[in-house]
């Protein structure tokens, strides 16, 4: 399964046309203890880089932008009671939602794992 990142530190994993979305380990670390994840509504239609969800930590309240266009098909409702999952496992169990991706060509505007690692180095 291939994984891509945005400059705003969201990740997306693609399986067929299903796109699983979360925030990167780097972002989770920067936010500190996460206290709340505002999950998107099921069926919400979103364009690439538009606001998809929200996240609050002890340090900040931030928007989560959608890495791809699509329609929300599943949300990780475990985060309702256990938002700390994002800190513990940002790029796996702490996923936020799944989208039915509208256009896989959009992935071209994202970074792959190696490019994102380079990008993070540039931020230091």
């Amino acid at each position: 399964m291939s994984m891509y990142f945005t400059k705003e530190h969201e990740w997306v994993k693609i399986d067929g046309t299903q796109a699983t979305v979360g925030i990167s380990e780097h972002a989770a670390h920067e936010l500190g203890d996460i206290t709340f994840v505002e999950l998107p509504q099921m069926g919400k239609v979103v364009k690439q880089f538009e606001t998809l969800a929200g996240i609050e930590s002890v340090k900040a309240a931030s928007d989560i932008y959608s890495p791809v266009s699509g329609k929300v098909s599943q949300v990780n409702d475990k985060l309702e009671d256990a938002p700390e999952l994002v800190n513990e496992s940002a790029e796996d169990a702490g996923w936020i939602c799944k989208l039915e991706a509208a256009d896989l060509a959009e992935l071209g505007a994202l970074m792959d794992v190696a490019a994102y690692a380079e990008y993070l180095k540039g931020l230091e």
Partner: protein, 445 residues
């Protein structure tokens, strides 16, 4: 923090630092025609002169008028404890006292206020108050749009007309539509309300008792709204909740209302406070401040503002509300009122209102040509059909020292002869009898 204004010397010093000639110069970038010419304020007065004027105004008779006016604002008893406790300097002079390290008293009072509002409305989460009843209805509508992600509101036209105007004003600049549903006689048209809910409806807004005084059970409406994925918002009259089924019991998702009747004086229109409470799962979408209970590092109970990420100082334009003021002092009066009465006291007070209004209803509808328009139950307010325009009758009775009610003609087409009369626990039998005698005289002599 000092409350003294700057002295002329300090002003000169500051102007010198920034290189301005006078305070007036600071306003020079604003074109002269956009500047206020005058605030038309009279010259200052001494305390003695001011007291003489205010005493003369107070003695001029305005406060002697016996009110049978309701329409959202009500003349209820205020126990002496309300003025005494709310007047304490710790509460009375404090401004935005929310720092937990120095404001535990205020925070605890607001937490208890929230608990009282939850008990009254039968819902789980209340904020620390809103500006007034009308804006509370509008805030509830906005909240429903956020919660559901939908864009339409179904609004019962027997909700207070002033509140409806505020809702429509708030929603006018959003891509949200408001569909008003006319009542059936004096009561909400439940069937048409249900039929008006679509898959784009965020919420149905009703009021209990409504502007005509009719009491309804909205349980079936709540169930229908939920079936269609919409919320039910009930604007309620807190005093009535002593005997009327609460919004929570009916299945409402959000309850709002005007808090004035809880321990706040009429005061020519304000300040009052609004309240809002909701199901716990919607707490992140509540507007305004919320006080939570916690423990300090030694495990002692304490209170803090909580869930502040909803608010404008963090979320800016994405905040749940940009209404910045809550009405803490008015809300505090509401709390002291509620605590003074207690559960039994609330029930007794509501029963007294109901009984007195029933007496008045019977007496007034016995007058030739007068009938009660409400088909079903009412609380302390009811609508009369008169054989003459109600506004004329009200003006005539005002000269006799009685404010007979709210004429409906200004708000509803074709109801020029309808008058909404309110009878609170404060109205005596003698006053009600006097109203009946004066009304009969105004109609037939």
């Amino acid at each position: 923090m000092g409350y003294c204004p700057n002295t002329p010397e300090e002003i000169r010093e500051m102007l010198d630092v920034i290189g301005a000639g006078s305070v007036e110069d600071l306003f020079s970038p604003i074109p002269a025609d956009l500047r206020a010419k005058s605030f038309e304020l009279p010259a200052g007065m001494s305390e003695f002169e001011l007291m003489r004027i205010m005493r003369a105004k107070a003695a001029s008779g305005g406060t002697e008028i016996i009110p049978f006016i309701g329409g959202g604002i009500y003349d209820h008893i205020i126990p002496a404890a309300v003025d005494h406790l709310a007047g304490r300097a710790e509460f009375y002079t404090a401004y935005t006292p929310y720092q937990p390290e120095c404001s535990q008293g205020t925070l605890q009072a607001l937490y208890e206020y929230q608990s009282a509002i939850c008990r009254l409305t039968g819902l789980e989460a209340s904020n620390a108050s809103l500006y007034d009843g009308g804006t509370a209805v509008a805030e509830a509508a906005l909240m429903a749009l956020r919660v559901t992600g939908r864009h339409a509101i179904v609004l019962d036209a027997s909700v207070n007309p002033l509140h409806r105007e505020i809702v429509c004003g708030y929603l006018a600049s959003l891509a949200a539509g408001v569909a008003e549903v006319a009542p059936e006689g004096c009561a909400p048209d439940l069937e048409r309300l249900m039929a008006s809910i679509t898959d784009q409806t965020a919420a149905v807004i009703v009021q209990n008792p409504n502007f005509f005084g009719s009491v309804s059970d909205f349980s079936a409406l709540a169930a229908k709204a939920h079936e269609k994925g919409a919320l039910l918002i009930v604007s309620c009259y807190p005093i009535a909740l002593g005997i009327v089924k609460s919004p929570g019991e009916m299945g409402a998702d959000i309850a709002v209302g005007e808090g004035q009747s809880l321990g706040n004086t009429l005061s020519f229109g304000g300040p009052y406070f609004g309240f809002i409470a909701a199901r716990k799962r919607f707490i992140r979408n509540l507007p305004g401040r919320i006080v939570g209970e916690t423990v300090d590092k030694e495990g002692r109970r304490g209170y803090v503002l909580t869930l502040q990420a909803r608010e404008q100082h963090i979320k800016r334009h994405k905040a749940t509300s940009n209404i910045c003021s809550n009405q803490s002092l008015c809300a505090l009066r509401g709390l002291i009122f509620a605590a003074s009465l207690g559960k039994q006291g609330f029930e007794d007070l509501a029963t007294l209102n109901f009984d007195k209004a029933q007496y008045a209803k019977g007496l007034l509808s016995g007058i030739k040509g007068v009938s009660v328009l409400n088909a079903g139950a009412t609380f302390n307010e009811f609508t009369l059909a008169l054989p003459k325009p109600a506004a004329q009758v009200v003006t005539r009775l005002l000269d006799a020292g009685v404010a007979a009610g709210v004429p409906l003609g200004a708000y509803y087409a074709g109801l020029d002869n309808a008058l909404v009369v309110t009878v609170t626990e404060k109205r005596t039998k003698a006053e009600i009898d006097a109203l009946a005698a004066l009304l009969e005289e105004a109609l037939w002599n």
